[in-house]
């Protein structure tokens, strides 16, 4: 191994790659401009959908309650609900999303209340549907208030203090710093993006430097030089790694900067605007002020060996191909192979354990999620970093071995 030669090869490949449009797109243009635009775009749409749902007054139906006109009238007066005439197929209408919820007021409800106790009120909703959820919380609030008013009135009748049924108040206050809250929300999507970008950033240079060179006939020219094969591989590999890391770092930087810019733009407005901006940033998963910079640094550190692993694996696979096209047909399906564990890592409820810590990509996705929410399980971190380094070393050794095989380089 000769560092000077490796560096010579690397510098040439860097110059060559920076003149290649395809590699330039995947390494620099897409991560810098398209990825943030995409994530912010999706975030904006998501925020738009949520606020539109909030603006809409949900339509509800009252089922029964003919002998409880007071309650029904109060419901009709609630500005946050739109009571529509009851139809016989009200259940179907909820399923069809024509109405968001229905409330069943049992027979003799008001009379029962006066006498002491009444039968239960039932709210019918469509589980998991955003607008139905809003309707339900309004209905619940209405009946909670009604119950509280009844209790207060009864206590007053008997000249008893309100503290009899409510001896103390219960309040909730958030102590987590904003970035920790962000970590939980964004912990999944940031590592996911990083993993994908690490891969796609390495993809095009790797194919260009291997199969592409074979196809164009420059591989044989290069092999004529007295430089040892291992130096050629390492020089080329460093270029592929550069592609991988530059894609990741550029996208992180550019997303961070645009998040900050967005924060400044919306920050000046009123409360509603501020909330909208925060919501948008959350959905985008990139807001710099909400992500713990130390956690992010940890993530970048953990990604390094994985970037080496990706670069070496793509390099090896692409080296086997005779043409750029053939290489693409091998490498493109690998994207799915890495997306799967990355997506699994995004799911809530899957937590790190010693066995999962050895599964490549998934372990990274999980540990990054923890780091971004401010949890540092050092034993797992060491285990994951160590195992990633081992996988990376194996892959790199394999790449060097393949480069030395004449049936791979001169495949007929």
């Amino acid at each position: 191994m000769n560092l000077h030669n490796i560096f010579t090869v690397y510098l040439k490949e860097l110059k060559d790659t920076l003149r290649d449009r395809r590699s330039l797109m995947s390494m620099i243009i897409i991560p810098t401009f398209v990825m943030p635009a995409l994530t912010f775009g999706v975030g904006k749409i998501a925020a738009g959908v949520v606020s539109k749902a909030r603006e809409e007054t949900p339509a509800v139906m009252i089922v029964g309650g003919d002998d409880s006109p007071g309650v029904a009238a109060a419901l009709r007066q609630d500005k946050k609900l739109k009571v529509v005439p009851t139809a016989a197929d009200w259940k179907q209408q909820i399923s069809d999303k024509k109405v968001r919820a229905a409330v069943l007021i049992p027979a003799g409800f008001e009379a029962g209340l006066k006498a002491g106790a009444a039968d239960p009120v039932v709210i019918y909703n469509y589980d998991g549907e955003l607008k139905s959820g809003f309707a339900v919380s309004e209905l619940e609030k209405f009946f909670r208030d009604l119950r509280d008013q009844t209790v207060t009135a009864r206590l007053a009748e008997r000249a008893l203090p309100a503290t009899l049924v409510k001896p103390f108040d219960l309040r909730r206050e958030n102590v987590a710093a904003p970035e920790k809250v962000g970590g939980n929300l964004l912990g999944g999507i940031v590592p996911y993006l990083i993993i994908i970008l690490c891969f796609t950033g390495a993809m095009y240079p790797a194919m260009d430097l291997t199969a592409g060179e074979k196809e164009r006939g420059t591989m044989e020219t290069l092999l004529c030089s007295p430089v040892a094969r291992v130096d050629l591989v390492l020089g080329k590999f460093l270029m592929v790694l550069t592609g991988s890391l530059s894609a990741m770092l550029l996208s992180l930087t550019s997303m961070g900067l645009s998040a900050m810019a967005a924060g400044m733009m919306f920050g000046g407005g009123g409360g509603a605007k501020l909330a909208a901006a925060a919501m948008q940033a959350k959905a985008a998963g990139t807001a710099m002020p909400m992500i713990d910079p130390v956690g992010l640094l940890g993530v970048v550190g953990m990604v390094l060996p994985v970037a080496v692993l990706f670069s070496a694996v793509i390099f090896t696979v692409a080296l086997f191909a005779k043409s750029y096209k053939e290489a693409q047909s091998y490498v493109a399906p690998m994207v799915f192979l890495i997306i799967m564990p990355a997506v699994v890592g995004m799911l809530p409820g899957i937590d790190l354990n010693a066995r999962l810590a050895l599964v490549p990509i998934l372990n990274l996705s999980l540990v990054c999620k923890e780091m971004l929410s401010g949890i540092w399980h050092w034993n797992y971190i060491v285990l994951i970093f160590g195992s990633s380094c081992v996988y990376a070393a194996v892959a790199l050794t394999l790449a060097v071995k393949m480069f030395n095989r004449e049936d791979v380089i001169f495949r007929a």
Binding site: T8, D16, G217, T218, E220, C224, E406
Partner: protein, 253 residues
């Protein structure tokens, strides 16, 4: 100096099974001489030359190039060799100057030495006009000149040419032929493979006729003419490989 002793190379091919591309080939090329390797398509020329340039490892036999063994010291061999083939292309996104500089560096030359060498080669090959343009925009003639400069940048003692005129126009092909002669005049050891009879007649001091991976005849041109009783090089070649039927059978593969 190139010395090949019982060089053999086999490939494992999925469809065709084991192919003996080079079969027990021995020959010697001396400094200041051109050794011509004459053979039809698929005869084993490229494989032989790749063995000498250490791009492939022999399956049997051995060879020394400029005093170094091709298997034990391949890097030293390559440092002494300039290899030019139809299949050794240029980096299209580099300029001619960058291309030559890169190979100078890979050969361990200092930047000062490279600059001086490029100035020298550019004058000699008349490259000044396109030296700083990108190779992918070159005509075949410009490409060939750049490739020659690339093989010569480290001033190797041994030159290996694998059908260097393949697919070139007459003018460029003639320029190459005169360049090969120039190499001989400077005392380099030259091996030159071709399937074109006239090139052999024009260039080579010694000719080896290769067929089916075997060296079937070897000698100076007058020696071969006498041995096969033919004046025309093409007739000599056909007789050496065992008649037209044998040639046709080999080409079918």
């Amino acid at each position: 100096m190139i010395e090949a002793h019982h060089l053999t190379k086999t490939f494992k091919d999925k469809k065709r099974g084991v192919i003996t591309a080079v079969d027990d080939v021995s020959f010697t090329c001396r400094p200041g001489q051109i050794y011509g390797l004459l053979g039809a398509n698929g005869a084993g020329k490229t494989t032989t030359l790749r063995l000498l340039a250490t791009l492939l490892k022999p399956s049997g036999g051995h060879a020394t190039v400029a005093g170094y063994d091709v298997e034990r010291e391949p890097e030293k061999v390559r440092a002494q060799v300039g290899f030019l083939a139809a299949s050794t292309a240029l980096y299209g996104r580099l300029t001619a100057r960058e291309m030559i500089t890169y190979f100078g560096r890979l050969n361990g030359m200092t930047d000062a030495a490279i600059t001086a060498r490029i100035r020298h080669l550019a004058t000699e090959l008349d490259m000044a006009e396109f030296l700083d343009r990108r190779c992918d925009k070159f005509s075949t003639g410009m490409k060939q000149k750049t490739s020659i400069a690339r093989t010569l940048v480290h001033d190797p003692a041994v030159m290996i040419f694998d059908e260097p005129t393949l697919g070139l126009d007459v003018m460029t092909a003639r320029a190459i032929v005169s360049f090969v002669r120039e190499c001989r005049n400077r005392g380099k050891t030259v091996i030159y493979s071709t399937h074109i009879m006239s090139e052999v007649a024009k260039l080579c001091d010694t000719v080896g006729i290769i067929h089916g991976g075997r060296l079937v005849a070897e000698g100076t041109l007058p020696e071969l003419r006498t041995r096969f009783g033919e004046q025309d090089m093409e007739e000599v070649f056909v007789k050496a490989v065992g008649g037209e039927a044998a040639l046709a059978a080999a080409l079918k593969n």
